[in-house]
Amino acid sequence: MRVVALWSEMAKDGAAKLSKNVLRMKFMQRGLDAELKQQLEEEEKRIISDEHWSLDLPELTAKENHIIEARSCVPCEDLVYGRMSFSSFNPEVEKLMLLMNTHKEEEDDSVSRMETDITDEEMARRYESMVESMRKKFAKKRNRSTITKSGEDVNCNVDDNQHKNVFLKPQD
């Protein structure tokens, strides 16, 4: 702050002025007002833009192209896949034919639901048994027997039959 006050005084006197680079340093900026800061910034910008070269061209806008060129005739005529096999001469190629030609048809339609191999109920049943087996696997040996017992309970009420083996303090 004192430096800044000194600087403004010195500037008024016309005596030795501080250079621009010193003024741009951080400790000199702290004392400045907002206005002074803005002025300095504008001056800087003006200097920079004078130095940059720019072309005096009018603004060019890209013309919207209504006409698209397609070089290949495959999308035009909806040509099918090139490898073909008939009367199961080459079963792999026949599989490929089905795959590629239905793939092409699906592109035209919207994305349909994936075909499921098993029904939803089957999936739920399997998931249930999987959860059970995972629980058994990671349960401690003592708890494993209780898990099989409580499997019959539909509501899965956890029974506190087993007591935890706590340290029993010896009674004197």
């Binding site: 397609a70 999308p75 035009c76 099918v80 490898r83 073909m84 080459n90 190629v93």
Partner: protein
């Protein structure tokens, strides 16, 4: 835009010659407030500023909603991006194979463009092998490039094929007829005997049947289909089917 489609509509199904021009004045709009449809010009049509010029002689075809092209005949193949062709490997230089596809230049096929190929695990491709691949780059300024995998990295039947069988050349129009969705030629042909067929858009066709004689019969039938009407073709195929059985 209705004006654009109206220009084309009269000429659909008519024979056009190179130099015919379709021009339409689009109304001057301020900020593109009018939503204009895009037209897709297929092979044979070329955009020239705001006009569409015909550059091949043939019949104008149309496909909904906005695709137009010229249906023409030619024997010489010009590589186009996205087309699947049969190529013959002519040279192996460093990391790429040079493949002859019947165009003005040989195409290059990188050895990494096969399914499961890595720097250590090179594909087993020799000079003289037949490859079925797709173009990734094919324009008049650059050397065409082939690949034998799709964008997901799967082969989808592309790559080296053809242990036996016969490769021959057909005209491009006939090849397109063979690859059309409900091709009659193919339907008639499959009734005769079982065989395997690979059709490349560059006019090359590879056929394999159980015996050499059957292969030659299929080859001759395909070559003769070029200039026959469907009636003549069906009688010929019937005669062959009865003869061979």
């Amino acid at each position: 835009m209705d004006t654009i489609h109206a220009c084309f509509k009269d000429k659909i199904g008519e024979v056009l010659l190179p130099g015919d021009v379709f021009s339409f004045r689009l109304p001057e709009s301020g900020d593109g407030s009018i939503k204009t449809d895009k037209i897709i010009c297929g092979p044979g049509l070329r955009r020239n500023g705001e006009e569409v010029q015909v550059c091949k002689s043939g019949i104008l075809r149309h496909k909904q909603p906005n695709m137009y092209w010229i249906d023409s005949q030619q024997r010489r193949y010009v590589p186009a991006k996205g087309e699947s062709v049969i190529g013959i490997v002519t040279a192996k230089s460093g990391d790429i194979f040079k493949v002859d596809v019947g165009g003005s230049e040989q195409a290059s096929l990188s050895y990494l463009a096969f399914e499961g190929a890595t720097k250590r695990n090179r594909p087993n491709v020799q000079v003289g092998d037949l490859v079925y691949g797709q173009f990734t780059i094919a324009n008049k300024d650059m050397e065409p490039e082939l690949v034998c995998i799709d964008s997901c990295g799967r082969a989808n039947g592309m790559g080296v094929f053809g242990a036996d069988g016969l490769l021959f050349k057909l005209s491009l129009g006939l090849v397109r007829r063979l690859l059309a969705p409900q091709s009659e030629i193919v339907k008639d042909l499959e009734k005769i005997f079982p065989f395997e067929l690979v059709v490349g858009m560059n006019g090359r066709v590879w056929v394999k049947a159980k015996t050499v004689q059957q292969t030659l019969i299929v080859t001759n039938l395909l070559e003769s289909c070029e200039n026959m009407t469907s009636q003549q073709r069906q009688t010929l195929f019937k005669r062959v089917a009865e003869g061979s059985l």
